[in-house]
């Protein structure tokens, strides 16, 4: 029996909360009054319940939120169940999740005014086959993030698809134990961004037509810093050539069009077995934090970043860099695959496998301007395998088990 039966509510005159009942299925159909019916279902759900969204288009006027642990929200498919936020009048995101052990699967959000789905302090969350689309394509007036877990331990994003985000399609911030896999990020400023986070695995994704494909960052003045222990492997990072459309002022506004993977101010980043093609500025870029800051807890250097064996196609042939023509002439028509700013704290800032070409800007101090670069070929050591503890990299196995 549905817990949302109105007659039952009226008869009982109070709505029971947190009843020790067996897990229930609460069905919500598209159509008239979707906002109230769906939000009510998300509020009245009990731990373990499944909220099942019917096929069709849900016209929503406000952000939705879920604050009950252990709830699954399941649609009929990422092309069948669409939460349409085109008429959204309030809230900073389409769906906000603030409870633990939540599973979101098989539905889409279109045109949220702010972020798509934000999960904050929501440990062990699974996003499976979720689509977030801004239907007008790249536009600075689109929301910032499509899928946005933050301050969480245990994050799995799988089989999802985001396009049009004016910041990052899939953004994981200030979190740990993270896996982003089997997902497609297209036509965002940043495809996937791992920021101020630890123990992250980014694998088997397709990042294409973004400004930058996959970003691994650490930023100052945030409660959680010290990002690192990130593995980026077996991704297809191709044709990231969309002009940067981030609203200025945002850190991703500085991402150069045509960047494949960008590592900035992070430690222990392993990049291996990816396919890079047609990223016109740099297939892989490794840099220190570029801006001024005041935060003594912050380390602006890229430390122990390793580029292992990867497949590199064409790239670096239309760089968004000052003096591009001279650089292209100097390097014979296209820039080498790996671009390093040369700024290193110790002697192990960057390691690159043999056979991979690179170049350095020859800078020495974080925050130094590009104009001061003394470009030259890259000569760094080869990586000798991962020499940091990667046993906690990736989402806990229990999250994978939920979508099996």
């Amino acid at each position: 029996m549905s817990r949302l039966n109105f007659a039952w509510l009226a008869a009982a005159s109070t709505i029971a909360v947190a009843q020790p009942l067996a897990a229930e299925t609460i069905e919500v159909a598209a159509g008239e009054g979707a906002q109230e019916r769906l939000q009510e279902a998300l509020i009245l759900a009990a731990e373990g319940d499944e909220v099942v969204l019917g096929a069709g288009r849900f016209d929503l006027t406000d952000g939705l939120s879920l604050d009950v642990d252990g709830v699954t929200v399941r649609g009929a498919g990422m092309d069948e169940t669409v939460l349409d936020f085109t008429g959204q009048q309030g809230a900073g995101e389409g769906l906000l999740v603030t409870s633990d052990n939540v599973t979101l699967r098989d539905f889409a959000l279109e045109n949220p005014k702010g972020d798509g789905v934000k999960s904050k302090g929501a440990d062990n969350i699974v996003y499976h086959r979720i689509r977030v689309t801004w239907t007008n394509g790249p536009d600075p007036s689109n929301g910032a993030y499509g899928i946005y877990p933050v301050e969480s331990t245990g994050v799995l994003v799988s089989g999802s698809k985001v396009s049009g985000a004016s910041d990052a399609g899939i953004y994981v911030g200030q979190s740990s134990r993270i896996t982003v896999k089997n997902s497609i990020v297209e036509s965002n400023v940043a495809g996937i961004e791992i920021e101020n986070s630890r123990d992250a695995l980014v694998e088997n994704n397709i990042a294409t037509r973004n400004t930058g494909g996959i970003l691994v960052f650490d930023l100052p003045n945030l409660p959680v810093m010290g990002g690192g222990n990130v593995i980026v492997r077996q991704n297809l990072v191709v044709g990231n050539d969309t002009a940067n459309f981030a609203p200025p002022g945002n850190i991703v506004g500085g991402v150069l069009r045509g960047t494949g993977v960008l590592v900035m101010a992070n430690e222990n980043v392993w990049i291996e077995d990816n396919v890079f093609d047609n990223n016109p500025t740099a297939q892989v870029m490794v840099v220190a934090y570029t801006q001024s800051y005041t935060d003594e807890r912050y380390n602006p250097y890229a430390r122990k970043v390793a580029v292992g064996p990867n497949v590199f196609g064409r790239g670096g042939d239309d760089p968004q860099l000052d003096g591009a023509d001279m650089l292209l002439a100097a390097f014979g028509g296209s820039l080498p695959a790996v671009l390093w700013d040369g700024i290193t704290e110790g002697d192990d800032g960057l390691q690159v496998a043999s056979g991979i070409d690179g170049w350095t800007l020859g800078l020495t101090t974080p925050g130094q301007q590009f104009a001061e670069a003394i470009p030259g070929p890259l000569t760094v050591a080869e990586p000798q395998g991962i020499d940091w503890d990667f046993s906690n990299v990736g989402a806990p196995a229990e999250l994978e088990a939920r979508i099996k």
Partner: protein, 344 residues
């Protein structure tokens, strides 16, 4: 001793209230079980807080106001405390009042009508139960005789004139139960925001003294926050008081915006946590194409003001409960930023 006396006084008041209410066919005394039992009462009348009209609060309720209220689209608010029998209050070192289980905090939202009266549209209650606080929104019916629970929130069209005489026609948003918690969130637990002892004022004679008798106080002194709209106060203090009242419920290390690194429960000044020369993190288009949250000397390019001014969901701050810009509040924060020495 004194506590017992107060309980008697409360009972007497409740009795008087009941008597007068019964004459008009209203409800009984406050139903303590509605406050403390599991479940979500469907109607506001189930509690007995009001006698068939938002203008007829039960005399057992203790009206209060706060020195620096949250701006809510120029709505006028009426706040009440409902204390259980034998209540004892504990005031913490930060002035926050720790209420016993069985307490209800009640807040009604109203707009002035063209005829000059106050029209109450919704009443929100915070119930302190054995397992913590619960927030529930109630929307008054057409006749304003009772209000009904709207766990999923509501929207309604509201027309009003602001203090400067400008007319506004807005889609007023009643928050849903989860959105209540978004603001009333401290370390993941729902908590009251307004009741900070030195900032509370009690208009009814004797209430302040009686509550004082029921409360224990910290050893440290408690000082009232300056009023944001008091022109005699220094501008940084006024801006700090305004930002604390309007932003700090989320923008604190234990609040819903803990990830932002922008904290307005801390002293306002030339610090990154105040936004001073701090770059945006996850603002997206909320940055308005500007570089800093607070750009000293440049209110016109400070993200803080851009977002406080915007009505666009996804940009507007606070994220919930604002469909108009607060002209007077903006003026204070603008003056503070304009007065900071330019750094770039």
């Amino acid at each position: 001793m004194k506590r017992a006396l107060f309980a008697v006084a409360l009972t007497a008041l409740a009795f008087v209230g009941t008597a007068s209410v019964q004459a008009t066919g209203g409800s009984d005394a406050i139903d303590q079980l509605a406050i403390t039992s599991d479940g979500m009462p469907r109607n506001l009348s189930d509690y007995g807080f009001f006698a068939g009209s938002p203008d007829r609060p039960n005399p057992a309720l203790i009206p209060y106001s706060v020195r620096n209220p949250l701006f809510s689209d120029y709505a006028e608010k009426a706040r009440f405390i409902s204390l259980p029998e034998d209540a004892y209050l504990h005031v913490g070192p930060d002035g926050r009042v720790d209420f016993p289980v069985g307490t209800a905090l009640i807040k009604s939202f109203a707009y002035r009508t063209d005829a000059g009266g106050l029209d109450t549209i919704e009443t929100r209650v915070l119930l302190h139960r054995a397992d913590g606080w619960l927030a529930l929104p109630y929307v008054w019916n057409e006749d304003r005789t009772d209000a009904v629970l709207k766990v999923a929130g509501a929207r309604m069209d509201v027309v009003f004139d602001d203090p400067s005489g400008e007319r506004h026609e807005i889609s007023y948003g009643v928050p849903n139960k989860n959105q209540c918690k978004q603001c009333h969130n401290r370390d993941g637990k729902l908590s009251p925001i307004g009741p900070v002892w030195p900032d509370m004022e009690f208009p009814r004679e004797g209430d302040h003294e009686r509550l004082k008798e029921l409360a224990s106080f910290p050893r440290n002194g408690l000082f009232a926050t300056p009023r944001w709209d008091d022109p005699a106060e220094p501008i940084a203090r006024r801006a700090g008081a305004y930002l604390q009242a309007n932003c700090a419920h989320c923008h604190s290390r234990s609040g819903s915006a803990s990830n932002s690194g922008l904290f307005y429960d801390e002293r306002l000044g030339e610090y990154a946590v105040s936004g001073y020369l701090k770059r945006p993190v996850a603002a997206g288009r909320g940055s308005g194409s500007f570089d800093f949250i607070v750009d000293p000397g440049h209110p016109e390019r400070s993200i803080l003001l851009y977002r406080m001014h915007s009505l666009d969901p996804g940009v507007a701050m606070p994220e919930i409960g604002r469909a108009t810009a607060h002209r007077e509040g903006l003026a204070v924060v603008t003056e503070w930023i304009a007065g900071l020495e330019t750094r770039n």
